[in-house]
Amino acid sequence: MPVTTYIDAIKEGIWEEMEKDERVFILGEDVGIYGGAFKVTKGMLDKFGPMRVIDTPISESAIVGAAIGAALVGMRPVAEMQFIDFISCAFDQIVNFAAKCRYRWGAGVPIVVRGPSGGGVHGGPFHSQNPEAYFFNVPGLKIVCPSTAYDAKGLIKAAIRDPDPVLYFEHKFLYRRIKEDLPTEDFVVPIGKAAIRRQGEDLSIITYGAMVYKALEAAEALAGMGIDVEVLDLRSILPLDEEAILATAKKTSKVIVLHEATLTGGPGGEVVARIAEKAFEYLDGPIVRIAPPDTPVPYSPPLEEAFLPQTMDIVEKAKKLAAY
């Protein structure tokens, strides 16, 4: 039985879409002969050739801009940001060009912008960020943050097939740490649909990305204390799966929102607001947010450990909320 890592799941998803649809091509820094800084595109140059696996100058804005242009005339480009931190250099192309074309003049921009996000690997302030919140306030974009190998593959395929610009934030901490058996047949994971990772009755943790695993660890620990935790993995944050969010809030009446993006202005605030607006009467306690403090991502291991939400932080806060 083949076992697929998270990073290979991304690669397989792109590979299969490229085999199936000649409109799909890749562009980015070092994606060709080197196969990408993390090897997501390894072997693709040999398989698909230099017209479909394009090494570019260090020019994130041109990478995304060229992807937009090609998409406008029918292509399905997948643009790689070597580290997702560098997506800031392409901000204008993403938010002003790609996101607004359809609304302004009816032109769809089916691009995928993907790259490694997240901390836990001591990458420091510019190789560890979770910049999804910068784009969360941009109508016209979709944002996905897979946590499993299955979702990584299913969401990259869905993103490539989607008619609109999709930002695909893969988590580099998960690249080679998780693996699972994947179906051999073609499948997609629909954008905008959350998944329950653990059923529970007492308290919900709503999260996404690598924090799903912290939430599950915390849930195991809390189970030993008699607290039955439900874990909802959002998978997509734009659009949010409001139905799933409200359902778990109504089910357990106590909610923790957990993410790796920093606290203020993070996507969690929107989750909290939706629950407060639409499930207020169901709540039996304050909604709790757990996220890194409002600082850059620090480098040194003890600093980064202090920055990232840890299992015990979640356990402590969950205990308090459960007892509320």
Binding site: S61, A66, L72, V73, N96, P163
Partner: protein, 336 residues
């Protein structure tokens, strides 16, 4: 436009330019249509019919018309704010422009966006955004698709002397150069970016010298001579089609009005303005048509002008009789 001019600025005919009489008259038609449409829009602006700003390309009509006229079927063009003339050459109707400027439901964006911010992919027109420079990487991407599929087409877009200072200019041009893409970048050096003189944008006299840094061909052209602009763009297009990579054409010209209608451009020295007024591209081309006996008499040109006026009046009627968009569409078409 019909007034006689005492200027000694003349339209030099590029060597080897092939253009029949119809073509020569069409160049006049589109330049005059460009100017008269903007004059008509100016009237609508003063009548508070235009919603928002109005941008003039007075004195730059030859840049837009000459470049766009050189394109072929299947080529892609993306205008900037002073390239209304390019759109007219590519078949955009004055009604579309007026309805767009007046924010009406029949405008190309149905009131979603303003001025020349519209396009149709199927017609090879890409809508610009307000952020200057952004079109260059996007058009490079369209040229990339042409290269991938071996299409015999090119892309053409514009940048100003100010827009050349952006990251996207550099990244887009460099990307196009590295991949030898069939792209023409027309640098409309009209000396002023809003109130900032080109000398505060660039420490070079000729912006075309920058082409060399991207390994692409650069050329300077008299931006007020529509024949020179057409000829240079045709040669640039041939170079692109032969795999020679991108071309940068610097059109030397002058912005005769302010950044937009609200701006009186008081920062522009009067002598500089007066000097350029003598080089009016349409007056000069009109003299050319008469002096070279392309037309039998000035009456023939007056007839073209009269036809344009009639077209514009009908267009204004159609645009202004159209309703504003229904508020219900404000939330439509964010996603596909």
């Amino acid at each position: 436009m019909a007034k006689p001019s005492t200027s000694d600025y003349t339209v030099a005919v590029p060597e080897g330019l092939e253009l029949d009489r119809t073509g020569r008259l069409e160049l006049y038609y589109f330049m005059a249509l460009n100017r008269k449409l903007e004059e008509r829009l100016g009237l609508l602006y003063r009548q508070n019919k235009v919603v928002g700003g109005l941008y003039s390309s007075l004195g730059q009509e030859a840049c837009s018309v000459g470049t766009a006229y050189a394109l072929g079927h299947g080529d892609f063009l993306a205008p900037m704010i002073r390239n209304l003339g390019s759109l007219l050459v590519r078949g955009v109707r004055p009604t579309d422009v007026m309805a767009q400027y007046c924010a009406r439901a029949i405008g190309p964006t149905r009131g979603k966006d303003l001025n020349v911010h519209f396009g149709w992919v199927e017609r090879g027109l890409i809508a610009p955004i307000s952020v200057v420079g952004a079109l260059i990487p996007v058009m490079a991407g369209i040229a990339l698709e042409m290269k991938m599929h071996g299409k015999k087409n090119i892309v053409l877009t514009y940048i100003g002397d100010g827009g050349m200072s952006t990251t996207d200019f550099h990244e887009g041009m460099n990307f196009a150069g590295v991949h030898k893409l069939p792209m023409i970048l027309v640098v409309e050096n009209n000396l002023w970016a809003y109130s900032t003189h080109v000398s505060k944008q660039a420490n070079v006299k000729d912006l075309a010298v920058r082409a060399e840094g991207y390994g692409c061909y650069g050329e300077i052209v008299d931006g007020n001579n529509v024949l020179a602009v057409l000829d240079a763009t045709r040669r640039a297009r041939a170079r692109c089609l032969s795999g020679g990579g991108p071309v940068m054409l610097e059109a030397k010209t002058f912005r005769r009005k302010g950044h937009a209608e609200h701006d009186d451009a008081g920062y522009v020295p009067a002598a500089e303005r007066a000097e350029w007024e003598k080089k009016d591209p349409i007056d000069a081309y009109r003299r050319f048509l008469i002096d070279r006996r392309i037309v039998d008499s000035p009456d023939e040109i007056d007839e073209i002008d009269a036809k344009i006026v009639a077209i514009l009046e009908a267009a204004a009627d159609e645009a202004l009789s159209a309703p504003f968009p229904d508020p219900s569409i404000a939330t439509e078409n964010v996603y596909g």
